[in-house]
């Protein structure tokens, strides 16, 4: 489950970025800091996460750094304890 989700997230990032290759993107690449994902794409990313997890994301209760890397996204929205 975990690997499938991570690879779906990576595929999305690679596709939306258009420049970074699948090999260049690691699970701990700081995708926001390095502008692999731009601030304008965050909303789209949230919608994709919602589709993947089959449940809405509560934007009001987002913690800082929730989108900072594939690992962070996984921890915030997909790990068992994630709300």
């Amino acid at each position: 489950m975990s690997t499938e989700i991570r690879s779906a997230l990576r595929a999305w990032v690679v596709r939306k970025n258009g420049k970074i290759s699948a090999e260049q993107l690691r699970d701990d690449t700081p995708i926001i800091e390095e502008r692999v994902v731009t601030s304008l794409q965050i909303m789209d990313l949230i919608l994709f996460i919602e589709e993947l997890r089959g449940a809405p994301v509560d934007v009001e209760s987002l913690r800082g750094g929730a989108f900072s890397s594939i690992n962070a996204i996984y921890a915030a929205f997909f790990a068992k304890e994630a709300a």
Binding site: S39, L40, I42, M43, D44, I46, L47, F48, E50, E51, P56, V57, D58, V59, E60, L62
Partner: protein, 289 residues
Amino acid sequence: MTMRPFQKTVDRLCEISRRGYTNPYEAIEWPESLPPDGLCTSPELISIYGTPTYDALTTEQRAKLSFFEAINFYSLNIAGEKPLVEGLASRLHKKRFESYSPYLHHFLDEENKHMIYFGTFCTKYAGRIYPDKKVPLGRREYAEGEEDFLFFAKVMVFEELVDVFNQRMAKDDRLIPVARHINFLHHQDETRHLVFGRQMVHDLFREYAPKWSPEALASVRETIAGYFSATWREYHNPQIYRDTGLSNAYAIYEEGFDHEASRARRRDVSSSCVKLLMNLEVLLEEPVV
């Protein structure tokens, strides 16, 4: 300064607002339920109109979709009006805006009423308002006047875009009466907000932009251009398709967003506002929408 003639306009706007003062609880007749085959959104303004997915829908599905499109459109109006009301309230009686305060009261009052119209429709007929997915971004310190300018410029972009929808749907006799009426009432108030907004954006830009560093000015331009994209992102929403009962909501959303028909619609709806901002030199090039 340029304030004198604007003051006259503002006084006139106040007068019209007072004359047309409405009780939001009596302004609209809410039917107990909506006809299942009635349209709530003009087909041409539906986010996936023109795509193969839309073409394949049955008449019933199209009616259902047009209802959830309205829920999304009304919800994004509320999402824009909440910070608008906050920003107007925080500018009441501030020195720079003191002489406009009587109008700011009307503006506030009218936006509050809009949220009542939109919110009543959504909660009464869909049982919910779609949540706002915009994430607030951290940012650097503002240059002098930049925060005020960005506030009014975003308000203007938002109101100009929404008003194109309102105008078209207020006139569309294919829609059920309550949906037409909401669009009509909103458009009526917006005509005044737009007069105010355009002048405000003009004045603030002329006053402050010359004082900004090239970096600050570039960042302002980037923010405004980005605001167009963000607003259009909200208009395309997988939740609409999910609630309509379609599977692969996210794929439909992507197809809809990237489709040439959608791009053309976004450019068409944005064009008058883009023209205004380019004439003012707030924007130097067309934003990607």
